[in-house]
């Protein structure tokens, strides 16, 4: 009986350790949202027509502001986006460059008797420091709904 329990526990831990993300049980910010937003924003950057891809773009990644009510590890979020951009081979990152990425994550939460409604909006801008022009800008949105049960939990 004991060994069976340990077996299940280990299996459970292993699933998490493998980095297979589950759809969360909460409307709040979860690990899978990191992946979805970073994947969409990076594919938007790489298919942009306003960024010049003829040479490697050297950028620096400034702050992503957290304007949500949740506690979110924004450093981790930044690193996921940087990793994806670097893997594409089109971007290099250093501390002080002429082009800077900066962004903001905001949320909106509404609730009534039957549901919880959470909305996350991420906006990222690429700014050219020399001219001050925003070369590229895009948003990614996520909306999660939890239908409350009147009986039970």
């Amino acid at each position: 009986m004991k060994s069976l329990l340990i077996y299940f526990l280990l299996g459970y831990i292993q699933l998490y350790a493998n980095g297979r993300y589950f759809d969360s049980k909460t409307v709040h910010w979860s690990e899978s949202n990191f992946n979805k937003i970073s994947q969409e924003i990076v594919s938007s950057i790489l298919s942009s027509t306003t960024i010049d891809f003829s040479k490697k773009n050297i950028c620096s990644f400034k702050k992503i502001k957290n304007s949500t009510y949740d506690h979110i590890d924004m450093q981790n979020f930044k690193n996921i986006i940087i990793k994806r951009l670097q893997k594409s081979g089109r971007f290099g990152f250093e501390n002080s460059a002429d082009k800077i990425f900066y962004g903001e994550l905001s949320s909106s939460y509404q609730t009534n008797f039957t549901k919880k409604d959470m909305f996350f909006k991420f906006v990222l801008n690429l700014l050219d420091i020399q001219s001050g022009e925003i070369i590229w800008s895009d948003t990614v949105e996520i909306r999660k709904i939890h239908q409350k049960k009147l009986f039970g939990w």
């Binding site: 759809d23 594919s43 549901k115 409604d117 001050g132 709904i145």
Partner: protein, 278 residues
């Protein structure tokens, strides 16, 4: 005799394994890219017409998904997997499952962009999502959870304003616009900066104007160089609300000031009234 028996045995094994496999249809096209659709046939969703092209040297895949039924779905997931010239999967950690939102009789063209340059083939997977208490919905769907300012208003305001602006002849692709504060004159918390961001994204995607962000630009720059763009127009505005017990009213007004002559070149407003039936 032995050989015939052996053959019959293996034939039986093959037959049984092919029967036990889940129902799936694989369409192999001349592009050597594959659609794997494991949805149950009761859903009546068909995926067809693969096409691909190269955008900025990266493979861009397009798959058409059609919903032939009169139901709406938000419990379907899709995923692109990417392969190099030799058929090896590349960067598995960068392929993730995403929710697909399908309306009644909807036709969606799903686009996937390869994460790295050397990709030449792809596979497109469609599957059903596991039951969970949280559902991801299309952000633009109307939920109307309560009477206060919410996501529906954000989309209605930004889309109404952006389409109104793009109809004006001011936006010819050469003007430089700076989006300043949209004042929140209501008594609730409204993220008005988010409205400005969405308007900027909508217009800059159309390529009809250039944008500078003076507030943030100042923060990041140390020395002001001579090549800095100066704004031709400044956009600002306000949101007001009138709240009654069973209905709420919101109005957004935006003004575009011409900095050369000080005139308001364009102005527009949009109203929303929400009423509770309870």
């Amino acid at each position: 005799m032995k050989i015939i028996l052996k053959c019959a045995f293996w034939f039986l094994v093959l037959f049984l394994t092919s029967c036990s496999k889940p129902q799936s249809n694989r369409n192999i096209t001349e592009l050597n890219s594959i659609i794997v659709n494991t949805l149950s046939s009761s859903k009546n969703i068909k995926s067809s017409s693969i096409s691909k092209r190269f955008v900025n040297d990266l493979l861009e895949a397009h798959v058409k998904v059609e919903n032939f039924s009169h139901n709406r779905y938000n419990d379907i997931e899709y995923c692109f997997k990417w392969y190099d010239r030799f058929g090896y999967e590349v960067s598995e950690d960068l392929s993730i499952w995403k929710t697909l939102f399908l309306d009644e009789l909807d036709v969606r063209n799903i686009r996937g962009l390869a994460p790295i340059p050397k990709v030449e083939k792809f596979r497109f997977y469609l599957r059903e999502k596991k039951e969970s208490s949280i559902v991801q919905v299309n952000p633009k769907s109307i939920q109307d959870t309560d009477l206060y300012y919410g996501v529906e208003e954000l989309y209605a305001f930004t889309e109404g304003m952006a389409t109104g602006m793009l109809q004006s002849e001011i936006f010819d692709g050469t003007k430089v616009i700076d989006i300043r504060e949209i004042e929140n004159r209501t008594d609730e918390h409204i993220d008005t900066k988010s409205i400005g961001d969405s308007i900027r994204v909508a217009i800059s995607k159309s390529g009809r104007a250039k944008f500078i962000d003076y507030q943030n630009y100042k923060k990041y720059i140390k020395k002001i160089s001579g090549s800095t763009l100066s704004p031709d127009y400044i956009l600002n505005g306000s949101i007001i609300s009138v709240q009654k017990r069973d209905n709420h009213f919101y109005r957004i007004t935006l003004n575009l000031y011409n900095l050369k002559n000080g005139l308001i070149s364009w102005t527009d407003e949009k109203d929303i009234r929400k009423r509770s039936l309870q």
